[in-house]
Structure formats: structure tokens, C-alpha cells
């Protein structure tokens, strides 16, 4: 019966850590954050390759904490290393069988063949790692991690060392493989799209500190604070002041303007996040339905062609000087005569505004 993974880790040196995470059986938790944030360290602590000063790692049995510190080989983890760490002197089959010390020797080869077939490597059992492509090596690493029959599967940037096309294929394979796995899966990634595509929950880490845990789409739409929003590379973050609450809405002062946003339990100065998808350009020829919502006069600073889309940067007289960035189809930008220096009006749709308390 698969158990949930709980980990609380605290340390000050050599890598500062203050992280608590929970991952249910069958759930995939993505650890995201900038390089050097401590994502891999968290993974290594779970596997027992790094020791936090204090805390607890528990998956059914306690692996770390309360005077216990199990050696890595006594923790039932499967770990896919960033560069795979395949044994170069062993064939693919032997690499997978090496993780089957818990099985009767007679059953190992057949089980390893099954596992390699599951990761689409049937026929390549006798190849050595140097004779396999990057994507094939990654699959061997995945099969070896599963061969352990782990209670927790850990993936350390498993797709970072392969090209884009291979990455997309491997991601699809992982999504498929997951359906047959019922253990907690923790994946380190710096790719938010990867987290969005694969993970159920996302834990943002910065300088060893856990900042927010939420489903990826939820965190991108409603980051807990401005720091989280910036780390997620979100634009359009402004300062505003809460004027009051009316029914479902909170009224804000933003520079010379007043805005309505979904109700939030906040007062005084707050940070305001405007989703690019909530920016509606008023058409010059005829008005449309959303125009009553938060109209904002603006001046075009830049129109950047990105393929079929245009990324538009507007000066919205933000007191902090921040521009408003959004994208719209190139033809819409042309039709509305968007060009640097031109004046325009946009609406900030209420539901796309997100108020972040300052703490």
C-alpha cells in the first residue's frame, strides 16, 4: 500500500534549507525555483544523499528524524539523476538488474526486460550506456529507478540533458507511465511549462525556503505574494492601495485610477498582478462588452512581433513606472493601429486581477 511522503527539512549550512513538503501516493509534486535555490538538495535529503541539520523525512516508515538517519540504500527511493549516472561498464539490462538486490536472482533478468520494454527499450538490453542516445539513456535511468520498486520516485531535472523533440516525447511517456505508478513522485525542474504539463502540485523554492505550494496553474494565476510572482517570471506587478470592499469585489487605487478586483482579504498597500490575458484592447471602430471594466488610458511604448502574435508594451502611468505587457494577434494590433507613441484604451478584466498582500 503506497504511503504519502512527508518531509520537513531545516538547515543553515552549507545550504540553507527551510522546506516542508507533502506528496500523496500517485501525486506528482514539482520543485521549482531559480538555479541554486536548493531544489536538488531537497531531493538529495529525501534520498539520504544529503543530511539536513534537522527535520523529518517519512514515507510510511521514518527515514530521517527522531534520532533516525537511514543510509540511502535502506530508503526505498528511485532516483533519476540529472545526468542519469548510469553504470558505464554495464549493459542497459545489467544497469536495471543492479537495482534489484531485493528480488530473487532468478527473477531479475525477466523483470528487468519487462521494465525496459515498458520504457520502449526492448531490443537494446545488451547496449552499454555509451552506445545509447541521450533519450535512451534517460529511459534506462527511469527503468533502473523503477526496478527498485521504490516507495518514492525522485526525478532530478530528468529532461534537461536532451534536445527539445526528445524532451517532449519523454514527457509524454512519463505522463503515460505515471498512470501505472501509485507512489509519490517528486520532480525537480526549472521549466514551468514542464511543471504545468506534468505536475499536480508545485512547490516554489527560493534560497532554500519554500515560498508557496499550489497546483501549477493556480500558482501562476494567484501567486501568494510579489516575490513568488517575480520568481515565476510574471509581469505586470504593481503597487496599489485597498480603498474598500463591496460584495464580491475589492476597490483599489492605482495611481490616479480606481480599479475593481476580485475580493481579497487585504488592506492598505498591496501588490497587484494583472494577467496578460485580462488585458482587453478597446477597438476604435466599435465598443465591446468588457469595456466598462476597469478602463485604463495608455500610450504604446513598443510593439514586438513574435510570429503570429504581437507583444505590446504600454505606458499606463503606473506610479512605480512599470509598463503593462500583453500579447494579442498581430492582425488585431495592425487593425487597431498600435504603434509606438499612439494612445489607446485597455480594460483590465476584473477576474484577471490578483491582489497580493504585503507581508
Amino acid at each position: 500500500m503506497p504511503e504519502a511522503l512527508h518531509a520537513t527539512l531545516r538547515a543553515t549550512t552549507p545550504v540553507p534549507l527551510d522546506v516542508a513538503l507533502h506528496c500523496a501516493p500517485g501525486e506528482m509534486l514539482a520543485l521549482v525555483g531559480p538555479s541554486g535555490a536548493g531544489k536538488s538538495t531537497v531531493l538529495r535529503c529525501i534520498a539520504g544523499l544529503h543530511r539536513a541539520a534537522e527535520g523529518e523525512v517519512r514515507c510510511g516508515a521514518t527515514w530521517f528524524g527522531a534520532g533516525v538517519n537511514l543510509a540511502p540504500h535502506r530508503r526505498a527511493v528511485g532516483l533519476v539523476f540529472q545526468d542519469y549516472a548510469l553504470f558505464p561498464h554495464m549493459t542497459a539490462l545489467a544497469n536495471v538488474m543492479a537495482a534489484m538486490g531485493h528480488r530473487a536472482p532468478a527473477t531479475r533478468a525477466a523483470t528487468a526486460r519487462d521494465l525496459l520494454a515498458r520504457v520502449h527499450l526492448a531490443g537494446l538490453e545488451e547496449r552499454r550506456p555509451a552506445e545509447l542516445s541521450g533519450g535512451q539513456q534517460q529511459r534506462v535511468a527511469m527503468a533502473r529507478a523503477l526496478a527498485r520498486e521504490p516507495a518514492v520516485l525522485l526525478l532530478d531535472e530528468p529532461f534537461s540533458a536532451v534536445d527539445r523533440a526528445t524532451r517532449r516525447r519523454l514527457q509524454a511517456e512519463l505522463a503515460q507511465l505515471r498512470r501505472s505508478l501509485s507512489v509519490p513522485i517528486v520532480m525537480v525542474t526549472h521549466d514551468l511549462d514542464e511543471a504545468l504539463a506534468l505536475a499536480d502540485n508545485m512547490l516554489l523554492i527560493h534560497r532554500g525556503r519554500a515560498l508557496q505550494t499550489a497546483p501549477p496553474a493556480e500558482m501562476l494565476a494567484r501567486p501568494a505574494n510579489a516575490e513568488v510572482a517575480r520568481l515565476l517570471d510574471l509581469r505586470n506587478i504593481y503597487q496599489a492601495e485597498v480603498l474598500g470592499h463591496e460584495g464580491e469585489h475589492t476597490r483599489l487605487r492605482w495611481g490616479a485610477l480606481e480599479l475593481e478586483a476580485p475580493r481579497a482579504a487585504a488592506a492598505g498597500l498591496v501588490d497587484l498582478l494583472v494577467a496578460p490575458s485580462a488585458v482587453l484592447l478597446h477597438r476604435r471602430d466599435r465598443p465591446s462588452a468588457g469595456e466598462r471594466e476597469n478602463p485604463v488610458p495608455a500610450r504604446v511604448l513598443e510593439v514586438l512581433a513574435l510570429g503570429a502574435d504581437a507583444r505590446v508594451t504600454l505606458d499606463v502611468a503606473d506610479p512605480g513606472g512599470g509598463p503593462l505587457v500583453f500579447t494579442l494577434p498581430m492582425h488585431a494590433a495592425r487593425r487597431n493601429g498600435l504603434a509606438p507613441g499612439e494612445a489607446c484604451v485597455v480594460s483590465l478584466l476584473r477576474d484577471g486581477l490578483h491582489i497580493m498582500p504585503r507581508g
Partner: protein, 224 residues
Amino acid sequence: MDWRAFQLSVELAFGTLIILLPFSIWLGRLLATRRFPGRGFIEAAVALPLVLPPTVIGFYLLTAFGAGSALGQAWQNIFGSGLAFSFEGLLLASVLVNLPFAVQPIQNAFSAIPPALREAGATAGMPPWRVLLRVELPLAWPGIATAAVLTFAHTLGEFGVVLMVGGSIPGETQTIAIAIYDRVQAFDDAGAAVMSAALLGVSVVALGITNTLSRRVGRRRRDA
């Protein structure tokens, strides 16, 4: 050809290997994988026989083997005979002067193993001894074999320390290198030539094996 001296040299070489190799695997791996205070000092001490004149090493060993030292005294009490000018003393001296030839190739071989491989072994459920047997030793073996060949060849050819510590007692401490010296002193050029050629042959073969193996270490490093 002085077969007694040749046999003694081969016995000395094998004896040195049997004692030195397991120790060097332990020490080489320790130096390659751990950072600890005094590590630089140990590395320097291991390299010392490379730079010290054999007579200096021999002098200190003789002093240490003598009945006036704690080691010599203890040996005398346990085995009833002195260490100096005995095969056992020669063996101990040979182990010490061969330290750099054994430890350094082994240390380099272990250093070339990516640390992630050890960690991968552990997370694959392999206890440390199994990681050593299944992962580390197979990857380090060209370095270990190099160490063995170098130690063997160097022991056959060692002269200065052997002369200082062992003297030249036929059947006890007269190795082939000493025997060649004695032949030359006795104007037996033919005898010296045969034995010199034999040593030359052994050395060339040893270096050939070593070079082949060290290329293999390089190849493995790229594979990993």
C-alpha cells in the same frame, strides 16, 4: 643467470603486491573520495619515496629496524630475529618505497569515477561494499592493474634501498639488481649482461601494459 637472486626478486615483488595492493586500494580511494584534515600531508608522505635518495630512505629504515628502536625491539621480541638484513625487513622496506607507485594510479582511477555513480549505486539499494565491488572496482581496475605492474617492475629493479636495508646476503636479501652489481664488481660482464637484459625485458613489458591500461582509464572516463 643467478636464478636464486631472480627467484628472490620475484618473491619480494609478489610479497610487496600482496601487502601493498589492498592497502593502496583503501588509501587511494580514501584520498580520492574524502576531504579531511591532513589529506595533503598524507599525499605528500606517500610521494616522499619519489624524491628522497634511496640511501636516505635506507638509512632511516635501518635505524627504525635496529634493536635500538621500538619497532626493531618489538619485532625481535615477537619473531626472535632482527628486521635489518632479513627478507622480512626487505619486504617492509619494499612496501614503503613502492607506496607512490601503487597509491597514485589507484587514487587517480577512483578520482575519475563520477561521485554520482556511487550515489546511484546507493539509491539503487546497493550497500557500500556492493557499490565497491560492482561499480567502483570494475571502473578503477585499469588503475589498480597499472599500480600492480608498476610496483612489480619497480621492486624487481630497486637497488639503493635494498642494498642499504638488506645488504647482499645470497638467498636472503640478494635480489637480481644487487646480483648484477656484484657481477660487475667481479668483472663477470657476461653474467651481468644476461640479467640486465632480463630486467630490461620485464620493464619494457611492464610499461607497455601500463600504457595500455591507462589509455583504458581515459576511455572509461569519457564513457561515464
